[in-house]
Structure formats: structure tokens, C-alpha cells
Amino acid sequence: MAAPTLDDWKRMYHALSRIRLFEGQVQRLAGSGEIPGFPHLSTGQEAVAVGVCAHLAKEDLLFTSHRGHGHVLAKGSDLEATFAEILGRESGLCRGRGGSMHLVDAANGVLGATGVVAGNLALAAGAAWAAQAQGRPNITVVFFGDGATGAGAFHETLNLAALWKLPVLFVCENNGYAEFTSREEHSNVNHVSTFAVPYGIATQTIDGNDLPTVHAAAGEAVAILRNGAGPYLLECMTFRMAGHYVGDSQQYRSKEELAAIKEKCPIERLKRLLVERGVEVAELDAIGERARLEVQHAVERARAAPRPDPKSVLEGVYRSPSLNGMAG
């Protein structure tokens, strides 16, 4: 694959900015109570979403976790429909039935976020199996956090995916925390890539906050999958700038730790890199401003969109109306 041009990097800068600003709006409106539930932000981890999804076609499939807004947007889902879903609106991706933790945009290859840690891994393997069984060339990517490695389903899925040579890319965003508990406290195994080795799965651990690094590594991994030599596990070391959920006071982290993480911001890093390559700061600021306006307009339109009709609450549990009616 050709190396990205300067214009490609600018487009990715725009994509990173959109996710950051989108989640800023989620934080604001969850804080004020307008967004129901407890959304989880990927702030600080955006380079993984953008660097990996840059290699995906619309037909490629994506599964994500409770921290999935960035992945869904990076895959190309509509800003307004995604935000409307997080607000619980009828015009949302899932007509307000799913919400922040259950985003699905099937037409765009986003087959779902899950609120159960590690619950998405085997689903992704299944999607990859279906493609393999039906001779379709698309690949499947699943994003998960390091917390998922504590679940049996993680290990079961790695074994099965390796055994059946499934075209699935496991992308671990290792942000050092399983909710409030640090990696040191929840596992003796520092690197998630270690688990890939005994199953014979190709793997590497990379700096997940450096977009060019993520982009290059994901490109290699995707090429391997497209050649039918899957699966692959890409571990991206990253940092969660936000709490586990909106409203998490993060008592378990020191001020120093949080300040150090700010220094590692992937957007700032890309900005420095692009300036070094001769891009004007003003141009990057203009890209950021364009992203801000896009997000703002999408958010305002989503907020003005109609709410679901309470009378429709029982619709769609089953396809057949006769089953819907009879379930009692």
C-alpha cells in the first residue's frame, strides 16, 4: 500500500478532531443529563480508531466495545445519526433502541458495540467465519480493551480464530486500566500481545498514540488478513484521558499521571509532526474549526430530532408480528 500523502494525514487529522469534539459534546450533554445512561469516552485513544479504520472498506465489518464512538465514526458512520442514537432519538442509528453502548450501523459495516466486556470477540470471529464460509473477501475488525483479557471468552476466541484461520483483526486498546483497576492490579501479563503467541497468532505491540505508527502497523495486519493468513492481534498502547465513564471522578489516578497523559495526546502529536513537515499551524487550526462546526451542526440537528414514540416500544422484538403479540 502506498504511504499516505500529506493530504491523507490532514484528512486523518480532521478525523481525529471530529472524534475528540464529538465526544466532548457527549461529555457535555451527558453531564447536563440530556444524554441518558452512562457513556464511555475514548478521549486520548483516537489514533487507534483512525489509524486502523483508514484501511477498511465499507464492506469490512467492525465490532467494538462500550468505548466505541471513535471506532464507529472512523468507520464512516454519519455524525448526526450516531449522535442522535446516543441521545436516544428515533433518527438515531438504532432508532434509539441501542444507545451509546450498542451502536450498530449495518449498512456501513458496523455490526455492533457491546456493553459486556469481551462479549464482542466471538461475534467478530463468527462474522469472519461467515465471510470465509461464503467466500467473501471482506475482513472483520474487533476493538477491545485490555480489561477483556481477564475473560475466558477472550482466550476461547483466540484459540478458535487461530484454529480456523479466521480473517479477523483483534485490536486491543491497552490503556492500562480495566475500568478503575490498573493493569498491574488485574494481570501479571503486561502485554496483551503475549497471549497471541501460544495460539500461533501473529501479533505486535505498538505505540497507539502515534498515528503514523498505528497506520503502518494496521496496514501490515490488514494486508496479512486480506491474503488469507489471519487472524492477527494488534496491541496498541494508549491512554484514556477521560474516566471510565462520564462522571467518573478518577480517585484512583494521581494528578501527575493525568498531566503526563495530556502530554501524550495523539492529536497534538500529529499536529507537531505535520508542522515539522511544513504544514502551517493556521491550516491545521482551520481543519479543527471545520470539524468543530460539523460536529456542532450534527449535534444541534440531532438534539432537534423527534423522540421515539412510546407506543412503538414493543415493536421489533421479533420479525413476525404474531410472535411479538404472543410473547406476553
Binding site: 465489518l61 465490532f63 438515531g92 442509528l93 438504532c94 432508532r95 434509539g96 433502541r97 441501542g98 450498542h102 450498530v104 450501523d105 449495518a106 449498512a107 455490526l111 455492533g112 457491546t114 456493553g115 459486556v116 462479549g119 470477540l121 466471538a122 461475534l123 467478530a124 470471529a125 463468527g126 462474522a127 469472519a128 467465519w129 461467515a130 465471510a131 464460509a133 461464503q134 475466558g152 471468552a153 476461547e156 476466541t157 484459540n159 478458535l160 484454529l163 421489533g316 422484538v317 421479533y318 420479525r319 413476525s320 404474531s322 410472535l323 404472543m326 410473547a327 406476553g328
Partner: protein, 329 residues
């Protein structure tokens, strides 16, 4: 030609594999024929890619089957014993059942999970349970429990074609039961119960292996002048209240029989719905026969002592009808 329950299940799977290339079988040992021989020969006939052995990883294979169902396959997953469905629960309850609804109708899960339940022959506490009640509590699932080989044939084929996640619960005690198929019979509608024996004094509602016991009990009761109608639920989720209401309107008395523990069982839901929806039709409280509140023991004497059967149904019906009830006839 008479065939056993196992042979007829194999025939249904064989025909569905031949009919629809998106149907795939997977599970522990299924390519080798499965623990009970249901899938014997199918890998040879339809290819190893369509009848696949899996590791002993219930959580992952349930997820795998669900993910594949989202993407165009119609997997038939075998969970060897319903007791092991405990390991599939996260996926079945949190993902499989909810995908259609949570996605606002964008996706569906046309998946059949075949499993096998019930007590027989000293299988003991972790291979004998009847756990169906857990699943009827989950919106989005369909739960089917056939009572005979011919029933299993039609219901399994209908389940594979339904386009919803179906838990298909076979009873190990029925596996050797023989029956002939009626040529050209239409497939049953999932969600419809059937009246197996007509009667006028009491409605006995049963499913799975207990239908056989209910029929035996009805035969016995007829000798003492009690006419019992027997309903085979076939589908536990959804419940066919219309067929039940029609029967209760004639008999005015209801007994519900299942092998599962009585406490919190399918019978509890049925009794509540009959009590609230059909109260005016009832001449007596709804009665339940089910397993007393203990794990299934190993020793044959103990297993026998615990399991409900036709004797318990006869006794319960006699008490339900009572001398006064009989005098009124």
C-alpha cells in the same frame, strides 16, 4: 417407516443442509456424529466445512454462531447438554436475543441452538437439568421443546427457517422413541400448541417428554371416568394462550406438568396467565406437577423418587376433580 427421535432429527438436519447452503452445523463433536449420534454421517455427506467440530468453548462457539448468523449464515449450534448452556448465557441473553431489537431492526439472528435436557439413566445433577424456564424470561428468544420424533422433525425444520434465535430443547429420554413421518405434512407454525388428546373434564398442559406421561395419565384416568384433554405446548416462548383458553373454556380445570423444578418453572408463568386471563372460566385453582426442589440425584432409586411422571399427574388430576367435581358430571 418408523424412525427414532435421533434418526428423525438427523433426517431434518440432512434435508435442511441440502435445501439451504447457508445452513451450517457446529458444535463439540458434531462432525464425529455428536455425543448422541444425531449428526452422524452429515459431515461426510455435506462436507467438513458445513458440519464443523469446535473446541469445548461454549461461550466462544455461541458467539461465533451468533456473529455468523448476523452475516448471512443459518448456523445450527449443538450445545451438548442444556446444563452447559450456562456457559453460553452471556451471549444468548445479552447478544443473541437482543440484536434485532437493539439494532432497531437492522440485524437479525437466524440461529438454532439445539440442546438436550432432562433426566435419565443416572446422568446426575450436572447432566439432567431442565433449565428452559431461564430462557422464557428473555425477550427475543424463541424456545421450542418437542414431544415426539415426528414433532421434532417439523419443529426443527420450522425453527431453522424461522429467522429468529431459537433454543431447541430435546429430551434425552425421547431419543429412542420411534415414530413414522406422515408424507407431505406441512411444517408446524412456531408458536402454536396442539391438542394431542381431546377431553372435557380437565386440561393437562405439558411439553417435551412429559406429554407422553400426560397421555399415559389420561388413559389411566379414562378408566375411572375422567376425560382429560392433553395439550402439547411445543413452544414455551411464545406461549399459545389462545389454544389454552379454548380448552379451558370447555374443561374449566387445568393441570400443568413439567419435569423442571416446579419453583419458578414454565408452569408458574402459565398458571399466572391462566389465573389472570381465564379466571372466570376456572372451577378450581390451577395445579402444577413438577420436580420437587432438589438437584437430580445419581442413584437410580433417588432419581426415580424425584422425577414426576404419569402417576403424579393422575393423582393431581384426581385431587383437582375431587368427589364433588365428579358428582356434578
Amino acid at each position: 417407516m418408523e424412525q427414532t427421535f435421533i434418526e428423525i432429527l438427523r433426517r431434518a438436519l440432512d434435508e435442511e443442509l441440502a435445501r439451504d447452503p447457508s445452513v451450517h452445523l457446529l458444535g463439540e463433536d458434531v462432525a464425529a456424529g455428536g455425543a448422541f449420534g444425531v449428526t452422524k454421517g452429515l459431515a461426510q455427506k455435506h462436507g467438513a466445512a458445513r458440519v464443523r467440530n469446535t473446541p469445548i468453548s461454549e461461550a466462544a462457539i455461541t458467539g461465533l454462531a451468533t456473529g455468523a448468523a448476523l452475516c448471512g449464515l443459518k448456523p445450527v449450534l449443538e450445545i451438548m447438554f442444556i446444563d452447559f448452556a450456562t456457559l453460553s448465557m452471556d451471549c444468548l441473553v445479552n447478544q443473541t436475543a437482543k440484536y434485532r431489537y437493539m439494532s432497531g431492526g437492522q440485524l437479525a439472528v437466524p440461529l438454532v441452538v439445539r440442546t438436550q435436557a432432562g433426566a435419565a439413566g443416572g446422568a446426575a445433577a450436572q447432566h439432567s437439568q431442565s433449565l428452559e424456564a431461564w430462557f422464557i424470561h428473555v425477550p427475543g428468544l424463541v424456545v421450542v421443546a418437542p414431544s415426539s420424533p415426528a414433532e421434532a422433525y417439523g419443529l426443527l425444520k420450522a425453527a431453522i427457517r424461522l429467522g429468529e434465535p431459537v433454543l431447541f430443547i430435546e429430551h434425552k429420554r425421547l431419543y429412542t422413541m420411534k415414530e413414522s413421518l406422515v408424507d407431505g405434512a406441512a411444517l408446524p407454525n412456531i408458536g402454536k400448541a396442539r391438542v394431542v388428546r381431546a377431553g372435557k373434564d380437565v386440561t393437562v398442559i405439558a411439553y417435551s417428554a412429559m406429554v407422553k406421561d400426560a397421555l399415559a395419565a389420561a388413559g389411566k384416568l379414562s378408566q375411572s371416568g375422567i376425560s382429560a384433554e392433553v395439550i402439547d405446548l411445543r413452544t414455551l416462548l411464545p406461549l399459545d394462550m389462545a389454544t389454552i383458553a379454548e380448552s379451558v373454556a370447555r374443561t374449566h380445570r387445568v393441570l400443568i406438568a413439567h419435569e423442571a423444578v416446579r419453583n419458578g418453572g414454565v408452569g408458574a408463568e402459565l398458571a399466572a396467565r391462566i389465573g389472570s386471563e381465564l379466571f372466570d372460566e376456572l372451577d378450581a385453582p390451577v395445579v402444577r406437577v413438577g420436580c420437587p426442589f432438589a438437584p437430580v440425584p445419581f442413584a437410580p432409586e433417588l432419581e426415580q423418587a424425584l422425577l414426576p411422571g404419569s402417576r403424579e399427574i393422575v393423582r393431581a388430576v384426581q385431587q383437582l376433580i375431587g368427589p364433588r367435581g365428579r358428582a356434578q358430571e
